[in-house]
């Protein structure tokens, strides 16, 4: 594959990320029902966290 076609396939990195909106969303509080589902998802995907003594 030549350089020209490599460049054509490159992504325009991070250009569409709106970090202010992302941070705003992270501040949103979830209902108990929402939180319960999210905790369930985390338990199914996560490595067991380390316990701190």
């Amino acid at each position: 594959m030549n350089k020209k076609s490599e460049n054509k396939n490159k992504n325009d990195w991070g250009a569409k990320t709106n970090i202010e909106k992302v941070l705003e969303i992270l501040d949103e509080k979830k209902s108990e029902k929402q939180q319960k589902e999210i905790d369930g998802i985390i338990n199914s995907i996560a490595n067991e966290p380390d316990e701190e003594s």
């Binding site: 992504n11 990195w13 991070g14 939180q35 589902e37």
Partner: protein, 189 residues
């Protein structure tokens, strides 16, 4: 992690999921804010949307994660990212060493993690993850590390968060006959 500047950073699906949990969201928010302030370019792979939303049944959670996904740059999964994912699959399987992390490398990896890894390699990006076993050593090196301490009932627990970098030289040494696509040196940031 605060020394990490001017990099492309691909956010793993697990980090996106952790964003939704009140236990972790404040600290994850801190990491993302810091990385953005340090002029890093943050994005997710297109497959993150699938990986996150497939687990959600609650409409409010679907709306929550959709907003998050849509405000992040979604990096396209091209054929080269998929070729790299196939390469990683072969590389992990081929490994026969026996340290704990490398033991993890021999386990069958989920396609999503392979594709996220393949995308990071193609785009020359670091990977932000809390699930280090999904991106096994020695191929993925720890570039930076931080942790979140939280209370879980009476106990304090620690969630480790990593920025990982793919070791291209090692991958080529270990598997010289298998080609994979990587950006030309001049295109890497």
């Amino acid at each position: 992690m605060n020394q990490t500047k001017n990099h492309k950073i691909l956010i793993d699906s697990c980090i996106l999921i952790y964003c939704g949990s009140d236990k972790y969201s404040e600290r994850v928010r801190g990491f993302l804010h810091l990385l953005d302030n340090n002029k890093n370019k943050l994005a997710i792979s297109e497959i993150c949307g699938f990986e996150v939303l497939k687990n959600c049944l609650n409409k409010e959670n679907i709306d929550y994660y959709l907003k998050l996904i849509n405000y992040l740059d979604n990096i396209k999964i091209g054929r080269y990212a998929l070729m790299n994912a196939a390469f990683l699959h072969g590389l992990y399987k081929k490994d026969t060493s026996n340290s704990d992390r490398e033991e993890g490398a021999k386990k069958e990896k989920m396609a999503g993690d392979l594709i996220i890894g393949g995308t990071a390699i193609y785009d020359g990006a670091l990977l932000l993850t809390a699930n280090i076993d999904d991106f096994p050593m020695p191929y993925w090196k720890i570039f930076a590390h931080d942790h979140i301490v939280y209370k879980d009932g009476p106990k304090f627990k620690v969630l480790n968060v990593y920025l990982l970098e793919f070791d291209k030289e090692l991958a080529e040494q270990k598997n010289p006959n298998q080609l994979y696509y990587k950006p030309a040196a001049s295109e890497e940031s």
